[in-house]
Symmetry: C2
Subunit: 317 residues, 2 copies
């Protein structure tokens, strides 16, 4: 059955199936880490039918290969299932360079959330030095990296997150301001205080009332990057955005995107991210849950904001 | 007093003041036509204070000039007031070429509404051959021209207007489809029928529920041009847009603009529009009210959709 609202552990069943040896052009993998992302909830209403293996991106080690492209022992980034030993077509795998970072770096600051932040800030947001930037879900998987990219690009950066603990982390990332949306009665006013000169670039991961409040503070020619809308994904009653008129008044642009469209340019992003990571200017705080059995709980945590950092399931413990 | 809601005739008072001879670098004009535009309502909540002369763009004839740039008898496009004989700084005037069109052409297909449509379709909408285009308020001042530009650019074009009479006019303009929003109970379904392949470019002049319905039919990579929002300008209760998630799903862009920003490029637009007008491929239906005394009524007509065609006040009758 397809879930309504926030996915619960009961939204999933676990199953043991025999490991399948790889066919030609396939690879048998040992899953190391699985990324837990808001988009997964959308998949449960769309591409993934009840009874199918839940899909998820992650990092795995090659155990057996019948592809000339991969050797046993190599580390790969892949579209995996929530499985310990998946057998996967080689075309779904991308070799990762362990000289650039270990498996945790490849699920974190070099991973797909980071690549998402890279293209969102640069290609969609046209980030430039001096921009006043606001990032929502700034302690989350994509938000953390988006905020740090803005900082690296010499922007003024404010972040929105839920709770003092996450906002403390934003201070450690040396953002110029952190807004705890759970502690504010008037979010629009709080954004106004944190971004007193207005916003040139709003990187939005949440949609709904936070997006609506941010619109009130756009500067002339502002860009709004629609990267995610976690506040709206698990509801049938979408919030009505009232402040779109600001796009007209401020000659502003709002644009949605999906990282998969940049597939041909992932290496460009990885090279940039790896260089900044090596310089110590790009970090990612991970919230790691141990064991594949935690995955069904993990997705719901994301929607309740119970995670502190990018949420990851460590499958090989 | 600033008006609430739709401007009424009582929102204005008329006054007789002596004609003022021009000072140095000023010109005394005889106003021929005044354009009546939705933006004027916004000015009444902002830049124009109660007691000031209502501002409006239009076409006038030079009577006396103390500027070396203008000679008596010349036709000018100008930021005018609702006045018969305004005295205006020469810098607010642009000379118009009567070889390209008469005064009515210059308020119509060569005028500022047409220039707005030009930059909106091309620079903001990135119109290209084969695009499926939808235009709202397609019988209005900007919408008519936007729809015709799309047709000239070899697009499939559907228009939305209120009432059978306006939709008949859209058929005369040879649009592929006309949607009478006043006759449809389910506007989203009506758009789906008229734009059965979806929408690559939505040129929006109205905002509110029509914008919300159009979002449901965007194609991958669609562009939404926010040119106006007449349904929302005269209300304190803005409509909440629920379908913004479509921008994400469809990797679509929504952008607001103001024609004044293109001031340096008006001549480019005029040359293009004049050439199409000369070829007979670009027309503008005007709704002409006679006498300056009609101006206070005119603005309200616009918000009730009582005009059929671009609304103009003929001052010199």
């Amino acid at each position: 059955m397809r879930p309504a609202g926030i996915p619960q552990p009961e939204s999933f069943v676990s199953d043991s199936i025999p490991v399948r040896p790889p066919d030609i052009d396939e690879v048998l993998l040992e899953t190391m880490y699985l990324s837990i992302d808001p988009a997964m909830r959308s998949w449960m209403s769309g591409p993934i039918a009840p009874g199918q293996v839940m899909r998820g991106g992650g990092i795995a080690r090659v155990l057996q290969s019948r592809s000339a492209l991969f050797q046993p022992g190599e580390l790969v980034q892949a579209r995996l299932g929530w499985q310990t030993y998946p057998t996967v077509p080689a075309k779904y795998l991308q070799k990762v360079d362990e000289a650039r970072g270990d498996a945790l770096a490849w699920i974190g600051p070099l991973g797909l959330s980071a690549i998402t932040a890279y293209f969102g800030m640069r290609d969609i947001g046209s980030v430039k030095p001096g921009d006043r930037v606001l990032v929502s879900a700034a302690a989350g998987g994509v938000g953390q990296i988006a905020a740090q990219i803005a900082r690296i690009e010499a922007c003024q950066v404010a972040g929105i997150a839920g709770g003092a603990e996450k906002c403390g982390w934003l201070a450690e990332l040396q953002l110029d301001a952190a807004i705890d949306y759970k502690a504010e009665n008037d979010l629009a006013a709080a954004i106004g205080r944190a971004c007193s000169d207005g916003i040139d670039l709003y990187f939005d991961n949440v949609g709904g009332p936070i997006l609506d409040a941010a619109l009130l503070h756009l500067r002339e020619g502002a860009r709004v990057v629609l990267c995610g809308r976690i506040s709206q994904v698990a509801t049938d009653q979408p919030y009505g955005i009232r402040n779109l008129g600001q796009l007209l008044t401020k000659r502003a642009r709002m644009q949605g995107f999906q990282v998969f469209r940049y597939h041909d340019r992932y290496e460009e992003a990885r090279a940039w991210l790896a260089a900044r990571h090596r310089e110590g200017r790009l970090q990612q705080r991970l919230h790691i849950l141990k064991g594949l059995g935690t995955a069904p709980t993990a997705l719901g945590m994301l929607f309740r904001g119970d995670n502190s950092g990018k949420l990851v399931v460590q499958v090989k413990v």
